[in-house]
Amino acid sequence: MKGSRVHVLVLVIVLCLVLAWLILDSLTPSNPIKNAVSQVASPIQYALRWLGTPFRALAQGVENINKLGEENETLRKENSELRNQIILLQEAQLENEILRKELSFKSSVPSYQLLSAEVIGRDPSEFFKYLIIDRGKDDGVRVGLPVITADGLVGRISEVGPVSSKVMLVTDSSSSVSTLVQRSRATGMTQGYPGQGLIMRYIPQSASVEVGDIVLTSGLGGGFPMRLVVGQVAEVTEQDVAMFKDARVIPAVNFTSLESVMVMLSFQEQSVEPLAEPTPE
């Protein structure tokens, strides 16, 4: 009986601690309970991830073995095409730089300081698309910084702990990125769409969007730098009566097999202030 009373007391204490954590979390961005938990959890997550590496490699190996021959042939072709494209692009870049210098334009491709980070955990709930990385406040990471891979945009930092951070993926339902279609320069807003991946909305009806078009960040709104690859258009939905059309976008990054990412440390987020109320004259 005595033991049972102690158990209920322990349960109440744990409940109170959880409530305190939830309240502190909504009041302050860096609450001490969360920081302490994150410092204990990060090494365990790292170790668990390390433990899973051989199984992951084995699973990927089995999965890839059938595709290897076919993939090799495709990659060979793609490689020779890309070589030619690189030469042409280098020429174009050189010409672009010369012309920009002549016109005294600011460089359109600023260099960013990148910090590599390993993925040590994922959101345990399927409806929310977050990653946990092994870099935190101690490494200079802060909320709002864009996260990328060589393939394209991953998302942005949403929470920062001392040694780890949470990344909100572009596919999360809370994510919204200003984008444009590379070919036609049609602008829109690419949002996470649970159950469908990504959707580019608010594309003007008159704009041209086709399946296969590449979607890039537009830099509008200042949340992300320009020209990061977001994905590729897979389907276009348009209705005669609607003001805008939508496009389903396949993300450029394969989020399920993501192991490491890069945080754009030197990016300065530009927040757009709302316009001031006009004063009557």
């Binding site: 033991g3 049972s4 102690v6 158990h7 209920v8 322990v10 349960l11 744990v14 409940l15 959880v18 954590w21 939830l22 979390d25 969360k34 938990v37 959890a41 365990i44 997550q45 668990l48 991830r49 433990l51 899973g52 199984f55 992951r56 699973a59 040590i120 955990g121 994922r122 959101d123 345990p124 709930s125 399927e126 409806f127 929310f128 698309k129 977050y130 946990i132 949403s158 929470e159 949470k166 909100m168 999360d172 339902s173 809370s174 949002q191 996470g192 769409y193 649970p194 159950g195 469908q196 959707i199 399920t256």
Partner: protein
Amino acid sequence: MNNNIRFYLTIPLVALLGLVQSTLFSELRIFDVSPDLVLVAATTWVLIRDQPEGLLAAVVGGAVVAALSGGPRLLIVLIFCGCSILVGYAHRHLPQMAGIIPYLSIIAVTLIYKGLLIFWLQTTGKTVYIPGLIIQNVIPAVLLNLLLVVITYHLGVWIDKRFGPPTVDWQ
């Protein structure tokens, strides 16, 4: 094993399961979903150990999942606690269904958990494609959790018999 030690062990064990779910289990994708290890463990816990141990597992499990998730934290903790209370109640009041209670519980708990999160997404103005979510996520998750509960429940019963308090069987 001492009853008190076993009770306190619930906290680190469930917390560890939460970390396993976010690391190892997130890579284990069958039908493109990962099983809800903590939800299954919390449900199994209440069926085997009853309250208050089951509720403790649910509070700790809910808090760990909420901490690692980008979703609504309070709601996740509340769903875990609510499900634990519901399963505990059903287990105590439906002894004639003891054989199928673990399986019925996990189906109900998974549907409640996923259903409430979809409802939250919708009410907070997020764009959600519900048919896609049901086909790609909810149904596979129910099947996967059902499969997982077969393992965890029987493993849990075995562990409880070995390390749990001695039971008195009527002759």
